[in-house]
Symmetry: C2
Subunit: 352 residues, 2 copies
């Protein structure tokens, strides 16, 4: 039995309703809520004193707390969690918003522009920070390899990937190669690898490398060796992301402490910590939410992160996220993240 169901059982309907009202009110106001106020807003015919009793229970369960003796209650991480898991009423998306998102995610844009747009949309629509990882490259399909001779024993290798993408590598060779030699080498490699994804292509080349040394002619050997150089030192496995709207976070009172802000911004810049978090939800099905300390990263202690993977052909290609104060409008943010993930995936899908 999940801890949330546990809680669900030990709380009667009234207590749950009150928690819901409290969380919603606190999210929109930012003010701790007192019993008198909650009594009015709850639409229950109940006196403040009764509310106080309920609040004492909720506090005992760790769902709410008060900043100080006479300050009303605010939700704890655990309180937000229960709210998000069991009592969220998601706002339907307006058609205006859907239009705006799809207009900014046309499939004729480059991958980078799409990722950038998605990040800007997330940030713009939520007034918080938007994060989008670049699509992973390891499943990209290698269409074609070409070589161009440069001076000084260098060769330019061109990988055409996924119709639209092009990658270059300059590799150093043991001697000069003529145009037609390179043409042959390219043909050979294309026969070997074209149509495979990059990981498989790399594997094939490594396999070939093993038994090519004795069996094959000199040109083929150089071809395979060049192929190997193409993939070594490649950035296939280095993921990265784009952040937009960091500065939006400076507007929120609960983050306006300059030290907290600094460590948050530093975390964005160093990427390591944050990628760690995003990795964790690349395996999750849909939307995933980290509230406050749940993320396990100190810099994000006062933040919540709403993430969703985005997929192309049912394969997860990356993750997008909105980062903001724990006191954010989850009802608004969740559908926005969901929609953006879906449309970003579609746009990338139509690339190929």
């Amino acid at each position: 039995m999940s801890p949330n169901q546990d809680l669900n059982n030990s709380l009667n309907d009234r207590a749950q309703h009150l928690l819901k009202v409290l969380v919603e009110s606190y999210i929109s106001d930012g003010q701790p809520m007192g019993s008198r106020n909650l009594a009015k807003m709850s639409d229950l015919e109940i006196s403040p004193a009764t509310i106080r009793n309920v609040m004492a229970d909720l506090e005992e369960l760790g769902l709410v707390e008060s900043p100080h003796t006479s300050a009303g209650r605010v939700p704890t991480t655990k309180g937000y969690r229960l709210f998000v898991d069991t009592m969220l009423t998601v706002e339907p998306l307006t058609t205006d918003l859907v239009k705006r998102v799809s207009k900014n995610l046309q499939s004729d844009l480059s991958t980078n522009s799409l990722v950038e747009s998605a990040s800007m949309l997330l940030s713009g629509l939520t007034s918080m920070a938007g994060v989008v990882t670049l699509p992973r490259h390891d499943r990209d399909e290698l269409r074609q390899i070409e070589f161009l001779p440069l001076s000084d024993q260098r060769v330019l290798a061109i990988l055409i990937v996924n119709q639209k993408e092009v990658q270059n590598r300059i590799i150093h060779t043991d001697r000069e190669y003529s145009h037609s030699e390179l043409q042959q080498a390219a043909n050979y490699l294309n026969e070997l690898c074209a149509g495979q994804d990059l990981v498989v292509a790399r594997q094939k080349i490594l396999q070939e490398l093993d038994h090519v040394r004795e069996n094959m002619n000199e040109l083929m050997r150089s071809a395979v060796e060049m192929g190997e150089k193409i993939f070594s030192g490649t950035d296939i496995d280095k993921p990265d992301y784009v952040v937009v709207g960091q500065t939006n976070l400076m507007e929120y009172e609960e983050l306006s402490d300059i030290y907290k802000l600094r460590s948050l911004f530093d975390a964005f810049n160093q990427k390591r910590e944050f990628l760690n978090l995003l990795d964790r939800c690349i395996c999750a099905e849909g939307i995933q939410i980290f509230i406050g300390q749940e993320s396990g990263h100190k810099a994000l202690d006062d933040c919540s992160v709403v993430t969703s993977p985005y997929t192309v052909d049912d394969e997860i290609m990356g993750v997008l996220a909105v980062v903001g104060p724990t006191r954010m409008s989850y009802e608004r943010v969740i559908p926005i993240v969901d929609l953006t993930a879906k449309l970003l995936g579609e746009a990338l899908n139509n690339h190929s």
Copy 2:
């Protein structure tokens, strides 16, 4: 006669010395300096009362001001300016520091890595923000153009520039072209443009476009048209820069106002305003310094910017800058900026 010489004349040696001591002390302390303290520090056998008289003069000239009646004096923008222009004693660079910079700016790094490293060095060595513009591309030398056929009436154009750099463009054509047709087109364009810089190459192609319509065969016409497409929508003229260490600026009291910080960070992100400023010093000879409001940008009102162009073959390729509070150690920052500019230029020079 420059306004500074004006000032120099109306100030006797003693007043200048006192201003210098005051500025240096304020830069290292951040505390407004009172007459008693200044009397001690100045090494002049002079009483606080006398100092007060001198201060009154300096205040009248707009070189110092006091935050409030009983708070000592701090330098104004004009005061910093006089200090920087006429009484700076630059610290010599330690060999350690020179080693560290040159180790991080090896010429075997790519252009982007060099720019990034330079920015990190500036930021790291000064504990402020480092900014480095990417080298301009318009003087890049076009070595070679190649075409590769893709599917769906698309052609991949490859520009090899400056030995190490490669740029790709995908262009859409009116029909499919064979490999050998493209080869011929490339040969033709290479004959026309190879060895020129990008701006000249573009011009040549535009000229050719004019009288090619009637005179030439179909293939040549397509070649020129493709050439034209390569350069249209190019990013030759779009300059850009890399910022490192923005968050360092959060440590400084005088910038710790969250609204100021936000507009500063926004200015970094939007780039427009900031590029404007950097442009202004691309024509200046060496180090240039903007103190406080001198920059003319509200977001930078409480900042100083120390800039220097960097050159390759005596031609200015870009600008680097350190951004920090007006109360920065100019003596330390100036030689760091100078050195980094020099070594960045050298590293880029050895590319070709």
